[in-house]
């Protein structure tokens, strides 16, 4: 992968001359429809009890139908525009670019309603749930961002919402518990296992089994049994397709040299990469060093899908620990496992310290308070610019997946 292909200005200009070249690569076979079995390379699939198979099949059929229905698509687009604040802008980070010697563009998912990209997926799934005649949304949440987004969509469409959240997380993220309840959702603390996100996922799946006729499971990332990894990527691909068009207007070469996003389950990254996978752009996914399924994991089956999983040599799943609750998931979406094994996307990590530095730097140089999750992507960019891994003058598009208001009290303690 060559990050410095094509002429780059010696002094980075925040905005390049608009151009037409998009540097398409030949390979359009990646990030497409994973078929009836939901396979991405060898990864993905549908590892759920027989009891859930009809629900997964019904969901897949309903989604395929909705996806092909112009009225569903236009309602989705319309709702994202008039309610969720789309399109989100791409902001040239002028002062930070100057400091790093690169040309950094930020895709501003922090400006979407509820403060992160999670709303893109949730609006799509909630509209689908209503179309399927379901009365209730079930969701798992870690930090609470997906839970808040689901509670929001439930309020918008008049659907009941129950959110499963690890007991440890309900204590760490009391503000988001309150927000969900304020929005009319019921938050159920999960007390099994490590009492964090992975246990909340297991519990949501268990509850789905027993309420499968009335309830719709609104999964929060590109994970779970087929069709979730595909469907969630499709709903999030609005990030990548908007950014692709915006880059075409901002960059002389039309596409950035490098595209970067943080990876927890991998939904903002998958949505971003989908817009650039057929270009020559180098693509980088950044995980939390303490929860890096792509870097430290091995192939395994968790929560209904086959992918890279943090586990011991006996097959017991390990817990992820990082500064950002939203990246503390021991697995990663199966499409990332496939993109990583084919080499199309590089996966790397950022440490808690690097993340804190990135948050402060972005706040002071651009006036943007990033979510700790999103700051992982920036932390890598900062290290790579300093080390020369990112050549001087490279154009870099980073998805800023969410805003950091939710992290303010945690930061107060960490930066004191």
């Amino acid at each position: 992968m060559n990050s410095s292909s094509g002429p780059s200005p010696a002094v980075p200009a925040p905005i390049e001359q608009p151009g037409t070249s998009t540097l398409l690569t030949a390979d359009r076979s990646v990030m497409t429809d994973p078929g009836a079995l939901g396979r991405f390379g060898g990864f993905g699939g549908r590892y759920v009890p027989e009891a859930l198979i009809p629900a997964c099949e019904e969901l897949e059929a309903a989604y395929r139908e909705a996806r092909a229905d112009p009225s569903f698509q236009s309602e989705l687009t319309q709702t994202l525009q008039v309610y969720a604040g789309r399109p989100t802008p791409v902001t040239p980070a002028a002062r930070l670019s100057q400091e790093l010697g690169i040309n950094l563009l930020l895709k501003r998912e922090d400006l979407a309603h509820t403060g992160s990209h999670k709303i893109n997926n949730v609006i799509g799934q909630a509209l689908l749930a209503r179309r399927m005649g379901k009365q209730r949304l079930l969701a798992e949440t870690g930090a609470g961002q997906h839970g808040v987004a689901t509670a929001t969509a439930g309020a918008l469409l008049g659907l009941d919402v129950t959110v499963y959240m690890g007991e440890v997380d309900t204590q760490r993220q009391q503000l988001n518990v309150f927000r969900m309840e304020l929005l009319g959702a019921t938050v159920v603390p999960v007390t099994s296992g490590s009492r964090t996100l992975k246990d909340a996922c297991s519990e949501a799946l268990r509850q789905w089994v027993s309420q499968v006729d009335e309830a719709y499971y609104c999964l929060g990332s590109v994970m779970g049994p087929h069709p979730y990894p595909w469907m969630v990527r499709e709903f999030q691909s609005v990030i990548g397709s908007e950014a692709r068009g915006q880059c075409a207007g901002l960059l002389r070469r039309g596409v950035p040299d490098v595209v970067v996003a943080c990876v927890g389950g991998g939904s903002n990254a998958a949505g971003t990469f989908a817009g650039f996978v057929d270009t020559s752009a180098r693509m980088v996914g950044v995980e939390a060093a303490g929860g890096a399924a792509m870097t430290d994991g091995s192939p395994g089956i968790l929560h209904g899908f086959y992918s890279q999983v943090l586990q011991d040599d006996d097959g017991q799943v390990r817990e992820a620990h990082s500064i950002s609750a939203g990246l503390d998931y021991p697995g990663v979406g199966p499409e990332h496992a496939s993109l990583g094994s084919s080499g199309r996307v590089e996966y790397t990590t950022a440490t808690d310290e690097q993340v804190l530095e990135a948050v402060v730097l972005l706040a002071r140089s651009e006036g943007i308070l990033a979510a700790l999750e999103s700051a992982h992507a920036l932390a890598w960019i900062i290290q790579a610019a300093r080390s020369g891994d990112l050549a001087a003058g490279s154009t870099v598009l980073m998805t800023l997946s969410g805003r950091g208001d939710k992290d303010a009290s945690q930061l107060m303690g960490l930066l004191a």
């Binding site: 079995l37 699939g45 549908r46 590892y47 759920v48 009890p49 027989e50 009891a51 198979i53 009809p54 629900a55 099994s192 296992g193 992975k198 246990d199 297991s202 799946l205 268990r206 089994v209 027993s210 499968v212 091995s298 192939p299 395994g300 089956i301 968790l302 929560h303 209904g304 086959y306 999983v309 586990q311 040599d313 006996d314 097959g315 017991q316 799943v317």
Partner: protein, 279 residues
């Protein structure tokens, strides 16, 4: 090709068929491996007090299909440092009367897909066979993903027991019945394992649906909590799997002798019922 189809019925199926031929109903108790240091004593207690086969749960950190009791039982085993290889060794350890594998009652392992995949489908199945295990249940590997496991279990001579849920569509039921060996496991309700007050009325429909496609024994599990419930579902089925009701007691401190008494009470209730009017 290394996967010969089982020609003769395996030990699990034979044991259940023997019970059926004698006009009785099968009892398959469940024990979480490693739940206590002397967990194999619970297995022996089951073997000696009327079990037709015994299900041994190999613990997994994220048991998606289990309710609070089996979750806690698995968690307790893992907190004790249970390792799969050690548990299998304890099952297979020789010594007259000491090893559950030597009691003559066929053993079935129940575990999750990741445990199998992590050890390798073939290596795992061979390790089970070497430990004297006769059957295998992997509840989160559905029909669509069953192929590798089916080949590996056949190659190792294990009976791979498949599950049917109340929601399973007829075309899948027929395929599951065709591919299952040992017995067909009919899930009593749409839910997870656990102790329940009442048996769901979907049981009969599920069991009858399976019977249309196979002469294999059909056993019902998930939520069978009392001897009376065991009798009730056995009016339709060939017997029951009892898990949470037993592990709840063990978690609360029941001794192997206590468990033996509970298993006996299920056995007595099943044996004391006149089944000639059933089915």
């Amino acid at each position: 090709m290394t996967s010969p189809v089982l020609s003769a019925p395996g030990a699990v199926q034979q044991s259940l068929l023997r019970r059926r031929a004698a006009g009785g109903k099968s009892l398959v108790p469940f024990v979480t491996a490693g739940i206590t240091p002397d967990w194999t004593a619970y297995v022996r207690a089951c073997a000696e007090h009327g079990a037709d086969a015994i299900e041994i749960g190999l613990p997994f950190s994220d048991p998606m299909l289990d309710g609070p009791v089996i979750q806690a039982a698995s968690g307790q085993a893992l907190a004790r440092g249970a390792r799969i290889a050690d548990l299998l060794e304890e099952i297979g350890a020789s010594g007259p009367g000491a090893a559950p594998g030597s009691t003559g009652v066929p053993l079935i392992v129940m575990t999750y897909s990741n445990i199998v995949r992590r050890h390798g489908d073939e290596a795992f199945c061979h390790a089970l066979a070497a430990a004297g295990i006769g059957g295998l249940i992997v509840p989160d590997t559905p029909l669509d993903e069953i192929e590798p496991l089916l080949a590996a279990s056949r190659a190792a001579g294990l009976e791979l027991i498949l599950l049917v849920a109340p929601s399973t569509k007829p075309h899948r039921v027929s395929r599951i019945a065709e591919l299952s060996s040992g017995f067909v496991y009919a899930v009593s309700n749409m839910g997870v394992t656990g102790v329940r007050d009442a048996v769901s009325d979907t049981v009969q429909r599920t069991v009858d649906g399976v019977r249309q496609h196979t002469s294999l024994p059909v056993l019902v599990g998930f939520g069978i909590s009392s001897p009376a419930q065991a009798v009730e579902v056995s009016r339709h089925a060939d017997g029951v799997v009892v898990a949470s009701a037993l592990m709840r007691d063990v978690l609360a401190g029941a001794s192997p002798a206590d468990l033996a008494a509970t298993v006996s009470s299920f056995r007595t209730a099943l044996d004391g019922t006149d089944w000639s009017a059933a089915r």
